[in-house]
C-alpha cells in the first residue's frame, strides 16, 4: 500500500515547517524518531500533527536574536509608514501644485540677489556664461 514511505514523506514535509536552526539540530533525529514510533504502531497523522504544533510553538517562542530582528523590522515598518504619508504630502503641496517640473536652481543664484553673480571666471571652462546670463533673465 506504500504506507510507511507515504507516512515518512508526510513527517518530512511537516519537519520542513520548523526553523532552519531547529532542523540543523534535531532534523535527522526527529525523522528517525518518527519512523521508530510509526514502526511501533503510532499513527503517522498524529505524529505529524504533533510536529506541526511543535513547529508553530517553535516559531512563536521569543528568542533573543529573533526579538532583535523583530524590533528592527518593526522600526523599519514605522519609518516606512511615516515617510510614505510625508512623501505624499510633499508631492501634493500647493507649492508644487502649479508645476510638475520645478525650475532648476541656478548655480549662480544667491538668495535675495536678483542679478547673476559676476565672478563667473571661476566656473569650469566647458560652461558658457553667456547662456547662463540669458537664462538668468528669469527670476531665480
Amino acid at each position: 500500500m506504500g504506507g510507511p514511505p507515504r507516512a515518512g514523506r508526510l513527517v518530512e514535509g511537516v519537519l520542513r515547517c520548523y526553523p532552519a536552526r531547529w532542523r540543523r539540530r534535531h532534523g535527522e533525529e526527529a525523522a528517525e524518531l518518527a519512523a521508530l514510533l510509526i514502526q511501533d504502531g503510532a499513527a503517522a497523522g498524529s505524529i505529524a500533527w504533533n510536529y506541526l504544533t511543535g513547529a508553530a510553538r517553535e516559531w512563536l517562542t521569543p528568542r533573543p536574536g529573533r526579538r532583535l530582528r523583530l524590533a528592527v523590522c518593526a522600526l523599519a515598518a514605522v519609518v516606512c509608514s511615516l515617510s510614505i504619508p510625508a512623501g505624499l504630502l510633499a508631492s501634493t503641496g500647493p507649492a508644487h501644485a502649479a508645476s510638475t517640473n520645478p525650475a532648476p536652481r541656478h548655480p549662480l543664484c544667491r538668495p535675495g540677489s536678483p542679478a547673476p553673480v559676476r565672478n563667473a571666471s571661476s566656473l569650469p571652462a566647458h560652461r558658457h556664461p553667456s547662456t547662463r546670463e540669458t537664462r538668468h533673465d528669469r527670476s531665480c
Binding site: 531547529w22 526527529a30 528517525e32 524518531l33 514510533l37 498524529s46 504533533n50 511543535g54 517553535e58
Partner: protein
C-alpha cells in the same frame, strides 16, 4: 496568582509543564535520547509524549540549564540532567508532595 515557594528554594518547574517534569524524572536515573525518553515516560507515567512536545520541552530545559546534551551517537543526541536540574526536580517533587499530603488530609477530614 502568586504562589509561595517551598523551603528548598524557588520551584522553577512550577510553570514548566508536565512534559518537562516527566523528562527530568526520566533522566534522573541516567542519560537518554529522544526515543528512549518517550518509551520510558510511557512506562512510568502512562503518558504518550508526542515527538514535537518532546523536542520543545528538551530545548526549554536546556535553555534553563536543567539538562545538557551529550555527544551524539549516530543521529541520536542523548541528554543528561544537570546538578541544577536535579535540585530543581527535588524542589518541585517536594512541593508536589506537600500539596498531595494536604489533599489527602482534607479528604480524610471531610470524610469523603
Amino acid at each position: 496568582m502568586s504562589r509561595r515557594d517551598g523551603p528548598g528554594g524557588q520551584d522553577v518547574l512550577r510553570r514548566a509543564g508536565e512534559a518537562s517534569v516527566l523528562i527530568l524524572i526520566s533522566l534522573a536515573d541516567g542519560p537518554k535520547h529522544g526515543y528512549a525518553l518517550i518509551r520510558d515516560i510511557g512506562e512510568l507515567a502512562g503518558v504518550e509524549l508526542g515527538p514535537g512536545t518532546l523536542y520543545g520541552a528538551l530545548d526549554r530545559l536546556e535553555r534553563l540549564g536543567l539538562i545538557e546534551p551529550l555527544p551524539a551517537a549516530e543521529r541520536r543526541h542523548p541528554y543528561r540532567i544537570t546538578v541544577p536540574g536535579a535540585a530543581a526536580l527535588r524542589v518541585h517533587l517536594d512541593s508536589l508532595e506537600r500539596v498531595s499530603a494536604a489533599g489527602r488530609l482534607r479528604l480524610q477530614l471531610g470524610g469523603i
